[in-house]
């Protein structure tokens, strides 16, 4: 698979110094930002809109469209979401650590396009090395006159602040992230009225974009909209970073065009399942996503629409592969435990529901499961995510609670026999 690379090109071709300003400039860096300062806001927004770039943080919403919703009041703010914490996801860590100037150039382009003079790069606290690299790069960019007062010898000012999180997955939710930046608990806000584009940071219009999304912008301006679209697959333009982990021969981040199949991704790109084991199931788009199984989903093309039609999502691009030795009750318990731990506690269905789901799964796993437990799991799930629909109908302020329902639905849909065997035998049937 030798697809052209965009956001990981520099680190692949220049592994030892892709993070440095020298290498960044020597490989065409900051040319796009220089061009952007002489473009009009409309031209920039239009370019990004017509590139079809979809947000890479999980929601896959058009980045250009998001920008065009920004309310006219000023000041407005740009917030970069680098709070990557979805189990299975480690792509932004690589982008932050290995090519921080690419992100900063994306920040500059976004700031110009949206007439924003204050940008915040929010990086999760557990990423000190990426944060150090970004902080260094920001300082370098200030010294070059790419940031600060009068960037690139224009009258445009841009201040960039790097902000460290402190261990809260929920701060990846954009309104929780905004609360966190304001020095509050990372609790999501109600929408409406708190749509960030209208009422965001300090109650001002705010753009929140993911690290990978912004890292694509220099390439769109440098290579042109058509080249970016040509790389992709119909509506899914450009490339996409897949974080592949779990039971595969070659885990890692892979930058690929959409449209290849899951079989190709798992067996060709990631080298298949090690130790002569067989593929049992996989999470196609981060811990929040409903699981896929062979053979039904193996030959589906990896696109936003095809994945949605099959009842899941590409989300943050995290593909977690499980082999046939995996106890699905334990795997589901582990994913649900994550959401229970990370629930902010505001909404009752999520706060109470995720904890109960975790407890019931643990009960089944430990051999204490009851005959009614699968129905009980679904009943509790239904109280968090009405009708167990996909995409979820929410009873909560944010999607965290419904995310915990995905593994429950998945194991009961595809592995009911294994769940019941736990209950009937009082132990995991996979352990001989």
């Amino acid at each position: 698979m030798n697809a052209p690379l965009l956001v990981t090109k520099r680190m692949v071709e220049h592994p030892t110094d892709s993070h440095t300003l020298e290498r960044y400039k020597a490989t065409g860096g900051y040319a796009a930002a220089k061009r952007a300062v002489s473009m009009t806001r409309d031209e920039l927004v239009e370019a990004v809109k017509s590139s079809g770039l979809l947000g890479r943080g999980g929601a896959a919403f058009s980045a250009g469209l998001k920008w065009s919703f920004l309310a006219p009041a000023r000041p407005a703010y740009l917030v970069v979401n680098g709070d990557e914490s979805e189990p299975g996801t480690f792509k932004d860590r690589q982008l932050l650590e290995r090519d921080p100037h690419q992100l900063i150039e994306g920040v500059i382009i976004t700031a110009i396009a949206n007439e924003v003079h204050h940008a915040f790069i929010y990086i999760r606290g557990e990423y000190p090395k990426p944060a150090r690299r970004v902080q260094q790069a920001v300082e370098e960019a200030y010294r070059q006159g790419y940031l600060g007062q009068g960037i690139f010898d224009t009258d445009f000012d841009l201040e960039v602040i790097v902000h460290l999180g402190a261990g809260a997955y929920i701060c990846g939710e954009e309104t929780a992230l905004i609360n966190s930046l304001e020095g509050l608990r990372g609790e999501p806000r109600l929408k409406p009225p708190y749509f960030p584009a209208a009422v965001g940071l300090y109650n001002k219009p705010t753009i929140v974009n993911n690290v990978e999304t912004l890292s694509n912008l220099p390439h769109i301006l440098n290579d042109g909209v058509d080249a970016f679209k040509a790389l992709g697959h119909e509506a899914d333009t450009g490339t996409f970073l897949f974080s592949v982990s779990g039971h595969v021969e070659k885990p890692g981040n892979y930058e690929l065009p959409h449209g290849l199949t899951w079989r190709e991704l798992i067996f060709d790109v990631a080298g298949g399942i090690p130790n002569g084991r067989k593929l049992k199931t996989w999470i196609p788009g981060g811990a929040s996503a409903p699981w896929f199984v062979p053979p039904d989903h193996l030959d589906l093309p990896i696109t936003k629409d095809d994945t949605a039609k099959a009842g899941s999502m590409l989300g943050s691009g995290a593909v977690v592969v499980m082999n046939d030795s995996t106890c699905v009750v334990r795997a589901a318990e582990r994913v649900v435990r994550f959401f229970a731990h990370e629930s902010c506690g505001q909404c009752t269905p999520c706060r109470e529901g995720t904890s109960w789901l975790e407890l019931i799964l643990r009960r089944i796993e430990s051999g204490q499961g009851r005959e009614v437990d699968p129905d009980l799991l679904l009943d509790v799930s239904d109280n968090i995510s009405v009708g167990l629909a996909w995409p979820p109908k929410m009873t909560t302020i944010c999607p965290l609670g419904p995310s915990a329902v995905s593994p429950i639905i998945s194991i009961i849909k595809y592995f009911k026999d294994e769940v019941m065997a736990h209950i009937h035998d009082g132990r995991c049937p996979l352990i001989a």
């Binding site: 299975g88 990423y127 402190a166 809260a168 994550f338």
Partner: protein
């Protein structure tokens, strides 16, 4: 409330000055407070409150929300063992078990000497290098139970002034999530992130 040493106060002023709104400085200031005493004391949080212009209760409401703000001592070396899905699939529970045995405490506790604290962590973003763990938030990928035991032994014997991710990775690590490409000689000095604006980055070769 008593002030911090002048160097820390100066960092606090620089941090506050960055933000359009003082309260936004609460999170970085809480890290400063931790770097002063190793964890968040009432006095530390009171100083944050004073600097930002909110009440100590409001500071506590923030501090208690985020897992990396420690309201009790967690040891000089805090080991965070990831046990989320990708790490679990590749044996993190055995790693955690080995760590509990070797440190001699359960997850969430600190050894009697106050040297090593142990916790299991939710996803630390190292899934391609699973199972993974951190010491003072500096990463080691591709760990296994045996190497985890050796790491604890090493911390006890060597008692490194500075915890360096590349050193630990070369001594105890295995397959990483991606090519780290270069080594750096900086690291952490306590159970909080090593980050220049907090004054918590030290060279490990000096």
């Amino acid at each position: 409330m008593s002030k911090w040493p002048e160097a820390t106060e100066e960092r606090a002023r620089a941090i506050i000055a960055q933000y359009p709104n003082r309260r936004s400085a609460v999170m970085p200031l809480l890290y400063l407070a931790m770097s002063e005493e190793g964890y968040l004391t009432e006095a530390g949080m009171a100083r944050v409150a004073e600097l930002v212009g909110i009440t100590p209760a409001q500071v506590l409401s923030v501090a208690s929300f985020y897992t990396m703000y420690k309201l009790e001592p967690v040891g000089r070396y805090l080991i965070s063992c990831c046990t989320s899905i990708s790490c679990m699939l590749l044996g993190s529970d055995d790693v955690l078990h080995a760590l509990e045995e070797e440190v001699g405490v359960a997850s969430g506790e600190v050894d009697s000497e106050g040297l090593i604290g142990l916790e299991h962590a939710e996803c630390i973003g190292a899934c391609g290098g699973a199972p993974a763990m951190q010491v003072n938030y500096e990463l080691i990928e591709g760990i296994n139970p045996e190497k985890a035991r050796q790491l604890v032994e090493w911390l006890r014997k060597a008692r490194p002034e500075v915890v360096n991710t590349d050193e630990m990775q070369s001594l105890f690590g295995g397959r990483p999530s991606f090519d780290w490409a270069i080594t750096e000689d900086v690291g952490a000095v306590g159970p909080y992130p090593a980050y220049e604006p907090f004054g918590t980055v030290r060279s490990s070769t000096e």
